[in-house]
Symmetry: C2
Subunit: 630 residues, 2 copies
């Protein structure tokens, strides 16, 4: 249910826009109920789609045709924006009693039709027990037939037994949801509404992790779950605030259910709005990524396609990254002892950020350097020419060529490059630097970076899985879409195990015939609770400069969440998907094989699952995705 209010406060003061709905029990006058809710600061109203009280006024032959309210009490645009329709809670299509099953199904189907007729944005259903397979079939049939509205599925975060409310729950409600959405083929129109648990049952942060990987649309809060502050106003206990803070990343909405005598319902929406400011954590990263959450990008092909101005501009905005590069160059040149000028070649210079870093070091150390900038993109070269004349006093030697084919006039002491992609080697840095090292001093030459390692971690993200399924390129089949890795800022996901190191590349690599093919099988530790494996997230760590084995002797950049370079905004993770989600039980071991393959014209990855089940090998021979060498 989208908020009406188009105005974004994000730019003026840092806060999360919170959208609240009010649960309203069968109001006689819906129009008035809406007006009241809006006056109370709510954005939508949750109420029954049909209800006995709505038909009781009718008799005679017409009465048989009454379903619910007349659609004419609201405009179509109001039904569509303001009303979340709750389906009858008295039906049970999964009842053991055939008669109850049949009458429930008739009611449910009529209500689904009525919701479509009214043009509601969403309906609300409840899962109250483990088995909901009949309900899943009916909902799934509507989804496949093209249901226009979203289905919000409400469950308690933590199940509490009626018989033994204080005891340990015998159910994991995640299983109820997982069964249901699996039957419905992970349809993205299915969204979760989570009931806030009792205060003593609050899940741990780790237990929340898995829910963060689910399509949670709203949190359901009772007014009885609020405390009163010294002014008699509602506030939430800290443990609830912590839960809300976690879910804010998913832009969830809030449904307030009044189960107390408090008539000042506006104070609850006001408080939730206040939390949007109080709990919002904003950093450099948050600004940078806003709007790209879970958005699929194709990895760059910088060897065969010229990067565009806007891409360079985004690169250059990451100050942290270039400070680390500058630091690496500084630490290296600090020890320069030779009487001659060091020769520094920036290969793949782009619009010159690394050239600038080298020149800054040269100035800092008061050490004159011979600087080359090698760049094959004629349009970036045009920029370098301007910078060389107006900013660099023409001291840089510009060479417009592919570094792999350049015949350099002298040997370099240092090769500086930034050819890494989200997976480290996935923009062909190994192949480019192998080609460039022929003009690097074979005895003393140093490459910055000197090493990089890719990392992978198994993830659950039906969001990404659906993005791949629904937003495929027109020229790709569904199979090809799953076999393509995507660069994506992961948000609505659950990481099932810590990342493990995959492939390592060192530079320079003065072997006779550098081999950049790789293979590795990785076994992750047993997972702690049931989950759905949808693919793997890829990261990298790079050693820009390695000055020995002691602490702090390395200048690093990392996108591995465990060692992420603070404040660095470049490089979102890369995602390798599976063609079909794999259901995992607690204790299951995920084992995966990854290959880096190449032939004369391209490089590609293949991957498959070995455990807990085997899958066909993905992207065979780079059929769906590869990196062109030329």
């Amino acid at each position: 249910m989208e908020s009406n209010d188009q105005h974004s406060d994000a730019s003026s003061d840092k806060r999360k826009k919170m959208s609240c709905g009010l649960y309203f029990d069968a109001p006689k006058n819906l129009k008035e109920a809406i007006e009241m809710s809006i006056n109370f600061g709510y954005h939508f109203l949750v109420t029954q789609l049909t209800h006995p009280s709505l038909v009781e006024d009718f008799d005679g032959p017409d009465a048989a045709h009454v379903i619910g309210r007349t659609d004419r009490i609201l405009k179509a645009v109001e039904w569509n924006r303001l009303i979340l329709g709750e389906l009858s809670t008295s039906t049970d299509v999964d009842s053991e009693d055939i008669e109850i099953q049949k009458s429930s199904r008739a009611t449910l189907e009529q209500e689904l039709g009525f919701a479509s007729h009214l043009g509601l944005p969403a309906i609300l259903i409840y899962l109250t027990k483990p088995k909901n397979i009949q309900l899943a079939r009916i909902i799934n049939e509507r989804l496949v037939l093209g249901l226009q509205l979203a289905v919000w599925v409400q469950i308690p975060i933590v199940h509490v037994s009626r018989e033994n409310p204080m005891g340990e729950s015998e159910h994991d409600t995640w299983d109820w949801w997982n069964d249901f959405r699996t039957y419905c083929d992970y349809d993205k129109r299915l969204r979760l509404v989570l009931e806030m648990p009792s205060i003593k049952n609050c899940p741990t942060s780790e237990e929340l992790d898995r829910w963060i990987g689910e399509p949670v649309k709203a949190l359901f809060l009772r007014t009885s779950q609020f405390l009163k502050n010294q002014f008699g106003k509602p506030v939430l206990p800290k443990s609830y605030q912590n839960i809300i803070q976690r879910f804010m990343a998913l832009d969830v909405q809030y449904i307030i259910y009044s189960d107390t005598e408090d008539s000042d319902l506006g104070s609850y929406s006001k408080y939730i709005n206040f939390l949007g400011k109080k709990l919002y954590f904003c950093n450099n990263m948050a600004d940078f990524i806003e709007g790209c959450e879970d958005y699929l990008q194709n990895p760059l092909q910088p060897l065969t396609e010229h990067l565009e101005s806007t891409v360079y501009e985004v690169f250059e905005r990451d100050a942290t990254k270039y400070i680390n590069y500058e630091n690496a160059v500084l630490r290296l040149l600090k020890h320069w002892k030779e009487p001659r000028e060091p020769v520094i070649m920036v290969v793949g210079a782009g619009r010159g950020p690394l050239v600038q870093a080298v020149l800054d070091v040269s100035k800092t150390l008061d050490l004159k350097c011979k600087v080359y900038a090698i760049e094959k993109n004629p349009y970036a070269m045009n920029t370098l020419v301007h910078r060389n004349k107006y900013e660099w006093d023409s001291q840089v030697t510009l060479v417009k060529t592919d570094m792999r084919s350049w015949e350099a006039p002298e040997l370099a002491d240092v090769l500086v490059s930034e050819l890494l992609g989200s997976f480290g080697d996935n923009e062909l840095s190994p192949e480019c630097l192998d080609g460039a090292q022929k003009f690097l001093n074979p005895k003393t030459g140093v490459s910055i970076p000197s090493q990089y390692t890719s990392f992978i971690a198994p993830i659950q993200s039906t969001k990404i899985f659906n993005e791949i399924r629904d937003n495929r390129m027109p020229d790709k089949t569904l199979k090809q879409s799953y076999e393509t890795p995507y660069v994506v800022h992961l948000n609505n996901f659950y990481q099932l195990a810590p990342p493990e190191a995959l492939f390592v590349f060192d530079h320079p690599n003065f072997t006779d015939c550098p081999d950049n093919k790789r293979y590795k099988s990785i076994r992750f530790p047993p997972i702690s609770k049931a989950a759905v494996l949808t693919g793997f997230a890829g990261f990298f760590e790079t050693v820009l400069l390695d000055e020995g084995s002691e602490e702090g002797s390395k200048v690093m950049l990392s996108t591995n969440p465990e060692t992420h370079t603070p404040d660095m905004v470049s490089w979102f993770p890369i995602v390798f998907s599976l063609a079909v989600p794999v259901q995992l039980k607690a204790g299951d071991v995920v084992r995966v094989s990854f290959w880096r393959e190449e032939n004369f014209e391209k490089v590609w990855y293949e991957w498959c699952l070995e455990s807990p089940c085997r899958t066909p090998i993905m992207n065979v021979n780079g059929r769906s995705y590869s990196l062109k060498k030329k």
Copy 2:
């Protein structure tokens, strides 16, 4: 090039938002030129992408790599929003001289690459002679390879010979454009910029018609084409204002080129903005259709799919339509002489607008009527039940059934229905009324409507052609998309001949076996000038009530442009497309065959061109589109 200004004035005062660009000849400082243009009230700037003056400062080895300005003078977002890049006017890839051809091609390709690098929204090229086939090949190649930017193609509206500027033009510049875009397969990224003609060459309104069917993006105006008013401010002659008024329907932009000494360039953009208010013609229709121009809608399938609340709401908003219905009922019942109450059955009552019309007439005439409302949609019936109780004093007999299968308890004197689609019979009104007439009094019974006739007209609209090609449903092939008729508010189109009557249906139709199959071949008058036939627009006229042959004895509704019911907003035209646009010469005769076919389960149309060339018959056996009877 989209305007920056997100604020729409449309709601506050009725006006067209005008977007102006300023042509700026090779400014030394682009940043300053932009600031000046914005201060002058312009939304974008048109300037050369490369220019000799931009490279003259460079020497030495770097000079060879200079292409144009450095991309770093503007942010990517500024390049992307503010700059329309003019390509070199000194190149000629269509030169007879091979050397000129080759060097021109190298320059052109470099400029195209540079424009992509900068991330410009569009480039500007000129067609200055009839033959541009080499230029078309190069541009088309880029388009097919996925060019991200738009290509604005500038031509004079009216060609003026340099040798004989006062004489009759020997060229129709539309031919230059038509050849060019045909080679480029009608790509929608190609847009037209039309140069305002000299005042004595202004085209007639009829000559402008064809341009209105083209993807015109901007009008190009020289400051010398403006007059000065009594305050020394620029104004345009009436004949130019007339041209601008015509193109306002296409939301064109304006490029101002300064070829006079006037330094107050702001006065020109200000005047154009003023025209946005002065020339804007706003009526009931304009409000209703805003935002749906040239947007494809699938025709309704009301027999097999329940209409939704929002659809009924849109129907009911058309007061003119129901006033005409009410008038028809009134004129009919005015003559009621029998002692008993007339029996009036509204078949397909929906949410009751025709029931209301009948009850209003009953009240006006103080004639008690027996009113039935027959409706098969249970959700519309729910609404009728509410209206019957709360608005109609329970005097209406509601029957929830399909009119074709109802066993009526008595015979009707009048059947009132509104089952017509954009093409008249295309929502199966004939089949439904044939079914319903079994409960119409066979001697004196009247059907409102009593007759309807579909009309077709040949049209040129590459806009619609591209919409069909690019926005097809995921479950339809391209062929199926072309074979599907669409309901669309035609805006960017050119009607090649007046509509001709196609199929006629009369009700009641008490023959033994009503036959609603139809066939007709229509020959349109020779067309006046060369054009591109992309399909046919369909309309209808209906006689609600026919009281004789004298003037004014018929109550009509019409969507035929020649007889359109004033102020009626219901029913956009329907479009039947061709699979391939057909090039027409002046004098060509368009002849088309249309069929209405049916079998036990469905009704469909087939169509094909007979002249000036034959085409395969479209939608054979309703393979791509049909109307389900059940």
